[in-house]
Structures are given as structure tokens and as C-alpha cells.
């Protein structure tokens, strides 16, 4: 009986998965109800699934999605808890402690890109989502997003939620003053690759005194690096056996060199992101372009203020692809209801779930079907001259190479980027920077 009911539920889940995959939004959510409800009826009473996330503001923006789920699934009720707005110093250490102690973590947890290398190296703490049929979702996601959810044992342990993507935000007022085109399509054509981006920068800075071309080193570095990754076997700091390859991966040196050229040409404003100076520079128009993942649009409009409304616009990033940030959902092995949790996870990462999060919090979907939905693809941003930025972001991640994140990826990344900021700002000489870049990376890898 028990066995049968489990198999029954498996079938129902498979049906849900297929529906969510293949059919249209309305159809999928309608049909889900009887399937999910029927399967849960076989279980012993209603099950509560705790969903734990992090982030400020709307964070994962699941209020509407969870409300819709709870209304149609009386036997699987989702409790949505946003634990903290701080990922790195609060959420991640806390989650690791909970995972280690075997209690405390929710049935579904959210994870930022910065924690994925670490989690992928700890397969013992997570349920294998393939076991619940979720590996059929592969076609829904860009390769990068999907592959990061595979852990070191080759099992599917996480599925993507939002994604950053990469665009280039630029100041139309400054471009106009410098005699450059201001229309977003023409601007995108100005910089098909990074060399032409550099040339545009030289043109702009020679025309406008006291204005830099780009804020600082890091977004550019990361965008170049993510494009180089594909040329070098889809690895960045670590090879697939978790060995540090900082000095062996030509893509890293190429990205480093490009930033060096940019900085030495005086095109950067020598700023570090998230500092007071950076905020002020944004308000005063001290730099003309900035690498822009989808969530950065909110940062720009919030920081630059109403006075700069319409001064910013969004063009494609040189080289066409890049990503910064984004999250995943996973089911900890300690969950008492992994099957139901996987069902909810499946829904939240589905087209409907991600569109709901986009509507509520502007979180850009990683789900390709959600990206193509008119709600996302044709959404306009009033602050950015009504730029329909959706297709630009979707484009930037479709060609994005999958990356293997080593266990200490986040630590190495933070350490070497610190050297780039230092060299850009002048506390480290460029002659010594590469050696230091490697030394710091080696230290951070432990």
C-alpha cells in the first residue's frame, strides 16, 4: 500500500513535471491542481514545506507565487521565510552550521552564486533532485545555470531561480556631450568587442574632462573572464579536479591584461562598488558606463535618484555575454519531506514561478521560457528611457559558457579581485600586480 501510494505520487509528480515543461502557463497551473492535490491526499495529512531565502527588499520575491501555490495545494503548504538580507556573512555561515548539525535548515533553501562551489563540493547535505524526476528540466535553462546545479558526484542538487545576465548601462547625457550616438542600438554597435569598447572610452575621455569611462575594474574583468571561459575548457580558477589553475588558465591572464590596459589608459574612475564615493560618482555623472546585470538597474535608479531619470540607458555588453549573480534553490538532505519539497521547488523554478517573481521583485528569470514570455521580454524600464532590457539580458546568458565553480571559488575570486581594485586605485603597482594576483589566489585557495 505504502509502496503503491509512493509510486502513485511519483507518477503524479512526473505528470506535473511534464505539464510544467511542455504546455502553456494557464494550462500548466490548472492541471497541476488535481494532480498535486490527488497525490497529497494519499499522504498522511497536510505537509508544511519551509522555504528559506535571503536578500533585501523583495529578496526572492516569492510572496505571490507561494500564495498561489498554497491556495491550490491544501496538502502541501509552503511557509516562506526570508532569514536575513545578508548572504555572505550571515546566511551562508548559518546555513552551513544547520547543514552540518542536521537540523534547522528548511525543506527548500535559496543559495547565491557565491555559495555554489562550496555546496557543490558537499553532496552529502543535499537531496538528489534527479530522484524526483527534476532532471527532465534541463532544456528550460541556459547551460551555465543548469550545470552549476550539478554537484561533484554528478547529481542534480540545485535548480536556478533568477540570473543576473550582463548589459552595459551608459549615460546618454555624457555620450551626447562627447559627440557619441545615444540610441541604444547604435551604442551596442559601437562596441561589438572589448577593443572597440576601449576605443570608445578613449574618445569619450578625451572629449570630456573629469569624466571617466567606467566605474572600476571588477565588472569589466568578470565580463571578459566569463567570455574567455568558453575558450578555455569551461573552467576559471579551478580545474574539474579542484586544483587551482590561476596561472595556467590563459583566460584569466587575458582578462587581467584587459583591465590593466583600461586602467592604465585612465578610463576607470578608480572606484570600488558599494562605497560612498561610488554612489556619489553615480549621482554626479563621474563615469559614463557601467557593467550592468539585471538587478543593477534597480541599484542605479535608486542611487542616481530622480534627478538623473532618463540620463541612463541600457546597451549590449561588448562580446555579447556575461553574468553577475543569480541564485539557486535546493533541498537539504535533512528535509523530512524531500519529495514534496522537490515538487514545490519544481513549481518555483518553473515558467509561472519565475514570471511571478519577475512581476513582484523584478528578478530576471533564468528559465528560458519565462525569458521569452512577453511579460519579461517586452517589459520596459521607465527610468532607463523605457529600455526593453529583457532581450539584452536573455541574450547575454544564452551564450554564456558553463563554469565549474571550485570549492574555494568565491574566496579566490574575492582575493584576486581585491588585487585588481588595488592596482586600479594605485595601492599596488601594475608591474607587481600579476605576481600578487597569483600569490593572493594561492593563499585564498588554502
Amino acid at each position: 500500500m505504502m509502496h503503491n501510494s509512493r509510486r502513485g505520487r511519483m507518477l503524479a509528480l512526473a505528470a506535473v513535471a511534464t505539464l510544467a515543461l511542455g504546455v502553456t502557463a494557464a494550462c500548466g497551473s490548472d492541471d497541476e491542481k488535481p494532480a498535486g492535490g490527488g497525490s497529497s491526499a494519499a499522504a498522511a495529512g497536510p505537509v508544511t514545506i519551509t522555504l528559506q531565502t535571503f536578500g533585501g527588499g523583495e529578496n526572492f520575491a516569492y510572496d505571490d507565487a507561494v500564495k498561489a501555490w498554497n491556495a491550490s495545494h491544501p496538502n502541501i503548504q509552503v511557509k516562506y521565510v526570508n532569514l536575513t538580507d545578508r548572504f555572505e556573512d550571515t546566511y551562508l555561515p548559518q546555513m552551513l552550521q544547520w547543514l552540518e548539525s542536521g537540523a534547522g535548515a528548511g525543506d527548500i533553501i535559496g543559495m547565491d552564486e557565491g555559495g555554489m562551489g562550496l555546496m557543490g563540493a558537499r553532496p552529502q547535505y543535499f537531496a538528489d533532485l534527479g530522484q524526483y524526476g527534476l532532471d527532465s528540466r534541463k532544456a528550460d535553462f541556459p547551460e551555465y545555470k543548469w550545470n552549476t546545479g550539478i554537484n561533484k558526484d554528478g547529481k542534480l542538487f540545485a535548480i536556478g531561480t533568477d540570473i543576473g545576465g550582463m548589459a552595459m548601462c551608459y549615460r546618454t547625457d555624457l555620450f551626447k556631450k562627447a559627440g557619441l550616438p545615444t540610441d541604444r542600438d547604435e551604442v551596442s554597435k559601437l562596441w561589438p568587442d572589448w577593443n572597440s569598447y576601449l576605443e570608445v572610452g578613449k574618445k569619450l575621455t578625451s572629449a570630456l574632462k573629469g569624466v571617466a569611462f567606467v566605474d572600476g575594474a571588477n565588472t569589466v574583468y568578470n565580463s571578459v573572464l566569463s567570455q574567455e571561459t568558453g575558450k578555455n575548457g569551461n573552467v576559471q580558477y579551478f580545474d574539474k579536479d579542484n586544483n587551482l589553475i590561476l596561472d595556467k588558465n590563459p583566460g584569466i591572464k587575458a582578462s587581467f591584461d584587459y583591465v590593466q590596459t583600461l586602467s592604465k589608459a585612465g578610463l576607470t574612475a578608480k572606484l570600488r562598488s558599494w562605497t560612498e564615493e561610488w554612489n556619489t560618482a553615480m549621482q554626479k555623472g563621474q563615469f559614463a558606463t557601467m557593467g550592468c546585470p539585471s538587478w543593477m538597474l534597480g541599484t542605479i535608479s535608486g542611487t542616481s535618484g530622480d534627478a538623473n531619470s532618463g540620463n541612463w540607458d541600457v546597451a549590449a555588453v561588448p562580446g555579447g555575454s556575461g553574468n553577475w549573480g543569480g541564485s539557486w534553490l535546493m533541498v537539504p538532505a535533512q528535509s523530512k519531506h524531500p519529495k514534496e519539497a522537490a515538487e514545490v521547488l519544481n513549481y518555483l523554478t518553473s515558467k509561472e514561478g519565475q514570471i511571478a517573481a519577475f512581476k513582484e521583485g523584478g528578478n530576471f528569470p533564468s528559465n528560458i521560457q519565462a525569458q521569452q514570455d512577453p511579460t519579461v521580454a517586452e517589459a520596459k524600464n521607465a527610468y532607463f528611457n523605457d529600455a526593453p532590457s529583457g532581450p539584452i539580458f536573455a541574450d547575454s546568458v544564452s551564450k554564456l559558457s558553463p563554469v565549474f565553480f571550485g570549492e574555494k571559488h568565491a574566496q579566490v575570486k574575492a582575493a584576486v579581485e581585491e588585487v585588481l581594485v588595488g592596482a586600479d586605485q594605485g595601492s599596488i603597482k601594475w608591474d607587481e600586480a600579476w605576481q600578487r594576483f597569483i600569490d593572493e589566489g594561492v593563499k585564498a585557495a588554502g
Binding site: 556573512d89 555561515p93 558537499r122 564615493e277 574575492a414 581585491e418 586605485q425 595601492s427
Partner: protein
């Protein structure tokens, strides 16, 4: 409660006198009264010691235990003996952090205590509106340390900071305060001093008021100048208080954390090359950013020993005050 204790004491003293043995309480009650008499005082003082054992002693010992392991959060835990310590002692990043901590401590604490002493001496004079003035030096202390750090970090801003604007009036270029050791240390030291100088001044002032007036009267009859009186009477009489403030400032200085973190936009790296990374930041970075608990625990213990040594050195130095006079 004290009544209860007394009630227990009388019969137990009377007991050996004999004659009334028949009326002796049954054994359990006698035990209770013994317990009441002997154990109650310990029970009364125990909350502190229980709390200390849980939140003081246990973490201290557990940290020592962790420091002997390669202990990663949700990862491997292998006993490696003193390897963390040997690694730490040759880790130039750790010594850089120690150097920063000591450096900031010196340029913050020495002027701070001197200014506090002079300030207290001034406040000890008969002034109009004495109470208001005395209270006002304490105001910085009640501001949140984060608020202080945020405001000062803006004052020291590279492009639009007030400090650079004032220096610019004298023709200097904009200083990027985070970029060099000397500039970042000065900036952090001013935050520390702004907050703590008044606190120390009030402590000195309180101590000054306990110095007998006749000492000063005798000194002025002998023709000692106010300056001579200050160095010859006030400072030597304040010695125990100075030792106390030096110890407290040493502990505070060696565990400096919030100011440099805020100054470095919330990162634990303390500048691009660790210009102002303190030992406390080093520990947090190792433990909670890189998840190497064992290594962080070893650093915490070394910091503990460093504080102990510095406090001893300082109190020896301070004991010498006034001796040569």
C-alpha cells in the same frame, strides 16, 4: 531570605548542648538546613559563574580545542596538533594584521589618554555650567559606533570628503585615505579617539575629585606652579586609575573591529593590500569568510596571548609614572 538563614542557624547551634535531642529534627530536614547554611551563599553568587562558564569559559576552551584541528565549517575536522599555530606564526598576513592593530592602538591610545588627562584637569576647575560641560564630553560615547564610522568614512571620502576639501584649500591633492597605511591608520585612530576620549576623561575626573585638597594647598604654599602640581600631585595620585584605563584601552585597541570594517566598506580585508586589517578582522575573515574555523581559532588564541602580554608590559610601564619625580 536572610531570615530563613538565621532561623536555620539557631537550632543547629543548640543541638550539641544535649537534653533536647528528642526534639531534634528528622534527618532530611537537618540536611536541608545544613544545605541552607552552607550552600546558599554559593547559590546566590552562582548565576554569574554559571553564565561565565557557559559564555566565557566554555568558548575559551572549545576555541583551544578547535584550534588544534583542521576544522572547516560543514567540512573536514582532523586533529593536526599545533600545525595551525606554526602556520600562523609564519603567516605574513597575520603579522601584517598584528602590526596594523598595534600601530593603530599606539597612534589612537597614547594621544587619547593624554588628551583625556588634560581635559579632565580642565573640567576639574571651577567653571560656569560645569555639569553641562562635563556631560557634553560623554556625548560621543552614546553615539552608535557604526554611525560614527559611517560619518567619519564620509568625512575622509576621496572625491567629496570634507577633510580632503579642507586640505585642498592648502593646495594638497585629494588623498585616498584607504590606500596607504599611514592615512588609513590616522583616519581610524581619529574615530576611536572621538568616541573614547570623553569616557576616559570622565573616569580621570572622578578619580581627581578624590585627591585631598590639602595636598594642593600645601603645594601652593610651597610655591608650586599649577603645572608642577599637575605632574607632581595629580598624575601620581591617579596612577591606579591610569593603569585601569590603559588596560581597558589595550583590550579595546587590540580587539578593534567595527571602525576599520566600516571604513573599508564592510569588507574583512581591510583595504586592497590589508593596509588596515586588524587581528579581529583577520579572525572573522578566516573563520566566517573562508570557513577555516581551526585557523581562526588559533589566531584568536594568539590574540588573547598578545593582549595578555601587552597588558602586562603596559602596567609595568605605567607603574613607573611619577617614580622619577
Amino acid at each position: 531570605m536572610s531570615l530563613h538563614v538565621d532561623a536555620g542557624r539557631v537550632p543547629s547551634r543548640a543541638a550539641p548542648s544535649g537534653g533536647r535531642r528528642r526534639e531534634q529534627r528528622p534527618a532530611p530536614r537537618r540536611f536541608l538546613s545544613w544545605l541552607d547554611l552552607r550552600a546558599t551563599p554559593y547559590i546566590f553568587v552562582s548565576p554569574y559563574f554559571i553564565l561565565f562558564a557557559i559564555f566565557g569559559l566554555f568558548p575559551l576552551l572549545f576555541t583551544a580545542w578547535v584550534s588544534l584541528h583542521k576544522w572547516q565549517l560543514a567540512g573536514e575536522k582532523t586533529f593536526i596538533g599545533l600545525e595551525n599555530y606554526t602556520k600562523l606564526l609564519v603567516d605574513e598576513k597575520f603579522w601584517n594584521a598584528v602590526g596594523n592593530t598595534v600601530g593603530i592602538f599606539l597612534i589612537a591610545t597614547v594621544p587619547q589618554l593624554l588628551i583625556a588627562l588634560l581635559l579632565a584637569n580642565a573640567l576639574n576647575k571651577k567653571l560656569r555650567g560645569r555639569l553641562v560641560i562635563r556631560l557634553s564630553v560623554l556625548i560621543p560615547l552614546i553615539t552608535s559606533v557604526v554611525a560614527v564610522a559611517v560619518v567619519f568614512t564620509q568625512l575622509y571620502g576621496r572625491d567629496y570628503g570634507v577633510v580632503n576639501w579642507i586640505l585642498g584649500l592648502f593646495g594638497t591633492d585629494n588623498i585616498h585615505w584607504q590606500n596607504e597605511k599611514w592615512s588609513s591608520w590616522i583616519a581610524i585612530a581619529t574615530m576611536v579617539d572621538w568616541r573614547w576620549t570623553g569616557y576616559n576623561a570622565i573616569i580621570y575626573l572622578a578619580a581627581m575629585q578624590t585627591i585631598p585638597k590639602d595636598l594642593y594647598e600645601a603645594a601652593s604654599i610651597d610655591g608650586a606652579s599649577p603645572r608642577r602640581q599637575f605632574w607632581g600631585i595629580t598624575v601620581p595620585m591617579l596612577k591606579p586609575t591610569i593603569i585601569f584605563t590603559v588596560i581597558v584601552s589595550t583590550i579595546g585597541g587590540f580587539t578593534l573591529f567595527a571602525e576599520p570594517v566600516m571604513f573599508g566598506s564592510g569588507l574583512m580585508t581591510g583595504g586592497t593590500t590589508g593596509q588596515f586589517q586588524t587581528v579581529a578582522m583577520f579572525i572573522v575573515k578566516e573563520g566566517f569568510r573562508d570557513f577555516e574555523y581551526g585557523y581562526a581559532a588559533a589566531a584568536a588564541w594568539v590574540l588573547f596571548l598578545l593582549i595578555l602580554i601587552t597588558v602586562l608590559i603596559n602596567s609595568v610601564l605605567v607603574r613607573g609614572i611619577g617614580r622619577s619625580k
